[in-house]
Point group: C4
Chain length 211, copies 4
Amino acid sequence: MADGGTGGSVGVSSDRVESFSDAVFAIAITLLVLDIRQPARSGPLWDAILRQWPSFVAYALSFLLIGVVWVNHHAVFHFIARVDLALIWLNLLLLLDVAFMPYPTVLLADALVSGRDEVTAAVCYGATLVVGGVLFEAVWLHVSRRRRLLRADVAPEVVRAMGRRFLGGPLFCALITPLAFVQVGLTLAGYLILLTYFGVTAVREGRTGGS
Amino acid sequence: MADGGTGGSVGVSSDRVESFSDAVFAIAITLLVLDIRQPARSGPLWDAILRQWPSFVAYALSFLLIGVVWVNHHAVFHFIARVDLALIWLNLLLLLDVAFMPYPTVLLADALVSGRDEVTAAVCYGATLVVGGVLFEAVWLHVSRRRRLLRADVAPEVVRAMGRRFLGGPLFCALITPLAFVQVGLTLAGYLILLTYFGVTAVREGRTGGS
Amino acid sequence: MADGGTGGSVGVSSDRVESFSDAVFAIAITLLVLDIRQPARSGPLWDAILRQWPSFVAYALSFLLIGVVWVNHHAVFHFIARVDLALIWLNLLLLLDVAFMPYPTVLLADALVSGRDEVTAAVCYGATLVVGGVLFEAVWLHVSRRRRLLRADVAPEVVRAMGRRFLGGPLFCALITPLAFVQVGLTLAGYLILLTYFGVTAVREGRTGGS
Amino acid sequence: MADGGTGGSVGVSSDRVESFSDAVFAIAITLLVLDIRQPARSGPLWDAILRQWPSFVAYALSFLLIGVVWVNHHAVFHFIARVDLALIWLNLLLLLDVAFMPYPTVLLADALVSGRDEVTAAVCYGATLVVGGVLFEAVWLHVSRRRRLLRADVAPEVVRAMGRRFLGGPLFCALITPLAFVQVGLTLAGYLILLTYFGVTAVREGRTGGS
């Protein structure tokens, strides 16, 4: 491992922080399946599996949402030249939120299966996303403020575009989560739109003088 | 980590996608053991363990099938020069399917132990494999179409051979899974044949002018 | 992977030991969420979630404490030029303690929820931290003793400062854990102080002639 | 990642196989804690924890045994210049055995707690170790046979010494496991001797002309 990325006074390179974050993303995403309960064996197995559909939807939704965060996390670290202690802590808090995802995912799946407490579960799920989004924006604001931790070749307009982009995520989640009070399906549809938007629009490379 | 593999407009290198995929493969393969339930303590322990044989068979089968996918996944990424957003998403969907494997594995083990719902469980297991195989083929088709993401030194006949090879997996699974309606043992035997074929025949290196 | 870090008679480089440790830290930190039980469904979900607050506190506390150990572990390995067999074993024992954290974390959360056995749980939690801190100090003493495993450019005053720093952790834990006999909240407040101290004060780079 | 280690006709480098194996070792070692059950809350917590002592012993024993395998696995891969398909499969089977360890570990812990079925549990535990040891020796024999996969600078006497060393592990396990029929404590003491021997004696570097 090259040491080149080490900056400031902490003995941790940006490569190491990125690898560690990758590991947490990969583990969190793979642990989700442990929360899909085996179907209760009353009646035919096929019926029991079908009644579990919200578990599969919640699994896929959380898997892909964490996947989107992973892709955008990489894009951010692609622009980072060095890390400081505050970045390490903001990133740890972000990972704390990502690693927490299995909990609201099961809340949501159970509520959809039982038809009870759907609003509470959707609000918990949405709140976890909003907190994660705010921490992601905080990571980016810290990195880009006065450009101290940024690579020299990142264009100012890219910095501004990314700040707006990462602010959009938690804002959108904060807006669509209350829709659960009307109909929980509206909130879920909103997450699909969020996934599609962040999935289809990549972070533009945008180095000055780049292609 | 070298940046050389970064291509297009996404800030994620092919090395990073490969490492992340490796981590998900490694976690999924190791989590399988958590689903081997401790034997119920009625009667001698030895009898209880022996009655659990389908759990051990299902564990080994899923472990080795994921292992085969891992080996072939590496072979594909060995040929990849750059990643784009569509590849990241197709790969994430493939990982979603791989990380899901523990669920149908337990279904199959429980059905074989209880002797109930064996067909349903085998169909679920087979369907997970078919979906995974189709996504793997989709990854390869996307990578090799018009060779945009391929290394320059990959021979056209190798591209065609790999396309046929990766198509063979889901096709074979789709054909042998319905045999479970006759006898679930036939389907399991089919998976062993699949394992052996993909295990024994490696992806040929096949660079033009290679050794 | 460069081989440069391999030293002495063991075929393991310091990079490999660091990567392996990183993986264990990342897995241990992410597994913590599995121990937050889904709330029992008697009465409204919201009340059940609120009654679980100690689980969330314990999750966040253990997550951040392991995060602090991870940051300081990196700082130590940043100074290491080669590994010997004793270092590998001391490090494995440290990882054994880190990977054990989910157990006392649940003890603590359950005791706080039920209001029973809080002292016992806090002592177990504290003992795990003390043992971990002692092993961390042992790793550092072994590395820095007669500087055999250290990089040549590490200043002697930095070595002494780190030895004092890493001794402070387990000492502080050993002192505040008995406060649980008075009031368990005092011990928890103590851990927050510990977190803040080790989080805010980074390991100084301190190479001779460095910036 | 350098491509230099890629050999033969498989698109997988020895670095990748080593990283993947490392990940499986790290996950298996960290998952062990999930099988330490929370103590039943009847009577004081402290008594319940003390009655669980076999769980802690089994956790530490399996953790350190997997740690020993990890260290020796690195020593083997340190000598490997290229991988072929047979090595990938032998290594996957070895990982299958390592990832299986949590199962016999719980069997052993439960048997020691309940005082029932201790012999059965010790035999299962020992059998998993013997199978793992045989697979490890098979990996080494395959690597060293006619030196096809070895680095050029490995001395023949080192190859012979390692073959004897790795054969010693499963042989010793096979000999001490039947002692459980007399007294299960003898078998456990034997594992401690094994741990100490393989822990204290490192693989000698032994390159021709090396220091």
